[in-house]
């Protein structure tokens, strides 16, 4: 599902660099990304999703070389292939929870909003325990409920790949468990691969594989690479 080769990335005018030799995630695999703050976990996720493009190397997702796509094509690819679940929810405050979950269908010209999609949205919300809040606005919901809404939005397109950036970072243990269960359960149900950033060691046993980004960067360093 994900194949990164000899990736080099740096932010303009910043000392930070992320370089590694190889990283991959198999189809249907659930992988946890760990590492200290600032080590490049989110940068790696943004390179995989096409939000950022590497200075060197190749990032291939679902058979497409994302790093070589033009901006518009990357946007289209992300909408159709990747479900994003950010830590900060990224819900639009002027839309109801149902409208927020369905927002990928509003900004995409390739995704069609149908009755089946709306039914899927309601079904996801029911399983996430937020069905009663579908007509409410984000500010009327708790942190955990908003995170579940963001997760439903990531899942609603049934994407082959789910990228979750610390979706449980601000949640209590009960809500953390709910979110991870929903994320992994739904991904398994639709056969999606999952890549999730987390700092919580208690969640790691629930993933098939754990990748430490610091170790990932060391692979290149050990081979005499950029770092």
């Amino acid at each position: 599902m994900i194949a990164c080769e000899k990736v080099r990335f740096s932010y303009p005018a910043e000392a930070f660099q992320l370089s590694f030799d190889a990283f991959s995630v198999e189809k249907g695999e659930a992988v946890a990304l760990i590492g200290p703050s600032g080590c490049g976990k989110t940068t790696l996720m943004n390179l995989i999703s096409g939000i950022l493009t590497p200075g060197g190397g190749r990032v291939t997702v679902n058979g497409k070389v994302v790093s070589e796509l033009a901006v518009a094509a990357r946007q289209r690819f992300r909408l159709g292939t990747i479900g994003l679940v950010p830590q900060s929810f990224e819900l639009l405050d002027y839309l109801t929870i149902r409208e927020n979950i369905l927002v990928p269908f509003r900004v995409s010209s390739q995704l069609r909003l149908t009755d089946e999609i709306v039914a899927r949205c309601d079904d996801l919300a029911t399983r996430a325990g937020i069905a009663a809040h579908l007509e409410k606005f984000p500010r009327q919901l708790s942190q955990g409920e908003r995170q579940r809404a963001a997760l439903c939005r990531g899942l609603v397109t049934s994407p082959p790949l789910l990228l979750a950036d610390e979706p449980t970072g601000n949640l209590d243990p009960e809500n953390q468990d709910k979110i991870v269960s929903l994320l992994l359960g739904e991904a398994a149900r639709i056969g999606s691969s999952v890549l999730m950033i987390t700092h919580d060691p208690l969640l790691l046993p629930r993933f098939a594989r754990v990748v430490d980004v610091m170790e990932l960067r060391d692979t290149l360093r050990n081979e005499g690479g950029a770092e």
Partner: protein
């Protein structure tokens, strides 16, 4: 770009920020509407006033404000304009240089002006009777189209003049007049007037009156002669005065004194050619406390002043408009800054640049379009309400 998605998101954003949106639309509407509305009103006033003024060659009146004379003689407003005696009107007619039509527009009935005039007025203004017939006798009236429509009047109905002084026993008493005709509409002040014979107007004023025949009255209704040998019969207050002129009592109406001394507020003077016009103007301009004016020239003067004021006002509005647009642009800019995070979220989800640009433009586009639409509605309202506004403005 997903057009319907942009529309959905844009409208939802505006809906959730409706107070801000309404304020912006209102501010922009005023920017467009105020100068356009003022221009439209001035154009309508000018068109209406000029058409009537240019159709009236000269106007004779007592010396005073020429504009008040124009407004009274042409638009039947300013009822308190100084009067001139009928003999002055006759004097102009006797020169042979012009046809003269007296106007006595002082009293009213139900808010509509009663205009005392001669039958020549109807020919001069090309006023046709749509229903009924023309004036024939004292106490009859023909009403303008709007008067008839607004009050459901038809031939055979009656209108009663409005008494001017409720507690003044010597004041103007109401006179019941029979409607004998309804004029065809002309979209002019004639539509809102009640036309009567000049003598009927004088009766409303109390200069003429009707009562029981003195010869048939008993002595108890007569006052003793003022002096021995006095042949004038004086009647006391027990004599019944008529407040309606009917075929049966019309002979009982009469005027005391010389009607040549009776007042008119204006007279339309129609010279047969330019030479006669020049001669008559030379003879009567500012002669004997009178004024003979050209309504069109008065309108030129009036609108020269109006336009200079309008230019000044439009200049001020331009400055206010530029300031409002600048503030509006600032609001849009700040709105964009506030929404940067939202646009970043959408970009992360996969929204393309065209979609994001369309979302940014939607708010400004909606406000501008909605304000233009509201301005259009405002201008249409001004267009339809202009006649009423003009009437109110002219008093």
């Amino acid at each position: 770009m997903n057009g319907s998605g942009v529309l959905f998101l844009g409208l939802r954003y505006l809906q959730r920020n409706r107070v801000k949106t309404l304020l912006l639309v209102a501010a922009f509407t005023l920017v467009w509407l105020l100068p356009a509305g003022i221009g439209l009103i001035v154009a309508k006033v000018e068109a209406q006033l000029r058409a009537r003024a240019e159709g009236t060659p000269l106007l004779l009146g007592q010396a005073g404000s020429p504009l008040e004379l124009v407004f009274n003689g042409l638009y039947f407003t300013k009822p308190q304009v100084a009067t001139l005696p009928l003999r002055e009107v006759d004097a102009v007619a006797e020169t042979g240089f012009a046809e003269v039509i007296p106007i006595y527009a002082r009293y009213s009935a139900g808010g509509y002006r009663i205009v005392g005039t001669s039958l020549d007025y109807f020919d001069f203004r090309r006023l046709g009777v749509k229903e009924g017939r023309q004036l024939l006798r004292l106490g009859e009236c023909v009403v303008g189209a709007e008067v008839a429509e607004n009050n459901g009047l038809k031939p055979g109905d009656a209108v009663i003049s409005t008494p001017e002084t409720l507690f003044d026993l010597a004041g103007v008493y109401p006179l019941k007049m029979t409607v004998v005709g309804v004029l065809a509409p002309t979209a002019s002040p004639d539509d809102e007037a009640i036309f009567v014979d000049l003598k009927t107007a004088w009766i409303i004023e109390g200069l003429g009156h009707g009562h029981e025949d003195a010869d048939k009255l008993g002595d108890e209704q007569k006052i003793a002669p003022a002096a021995p040998g006095d042949s004038v019969v004086r009647l006391n207050a027990s004599v019944v005065e008529y407040n309606e002129i009917t075929p049966g009592n019309s002979d009982g109406f009469h005027f005391h004194g010389d009607t040549a001394d009776y007042p008119v507020t204006a007279a339309i003077v129609i010279p047969s050619d330019a030479r006669d016009r020049a001669l008559i103007k030379g003879r009567f301009t500012k002669a004997g406390g009178l004024q003979l004016i050209s309504p069109a020239a008065e309108m030129d003067e009036l609108f020269a002043t109006v336009f200079s004021v309008q230019r000044f006002v439009l200049g001020l509005l331009l400055a206010i408009g530029i300031a409002t647009l600048a503030i509006g642009a600032l609001v849009f800019l700040l709105s964009y800054r506030l929404r940067e995070e939202e646009f970043r979220h959408l970009r992360h989800l996969g929204a393309d640049l065209a979609t994001l640009r369309a979302l940014v433009a939607f708010e400004a586009g909606f406000v501008i379009l909605a304000s233009l639409l509201a301005s259009g509605v405002g201008l249409a309202l001004i267009h339809f309400l202009a006649p009423q506004l003009i009437r109110e403005m002219m008093g």
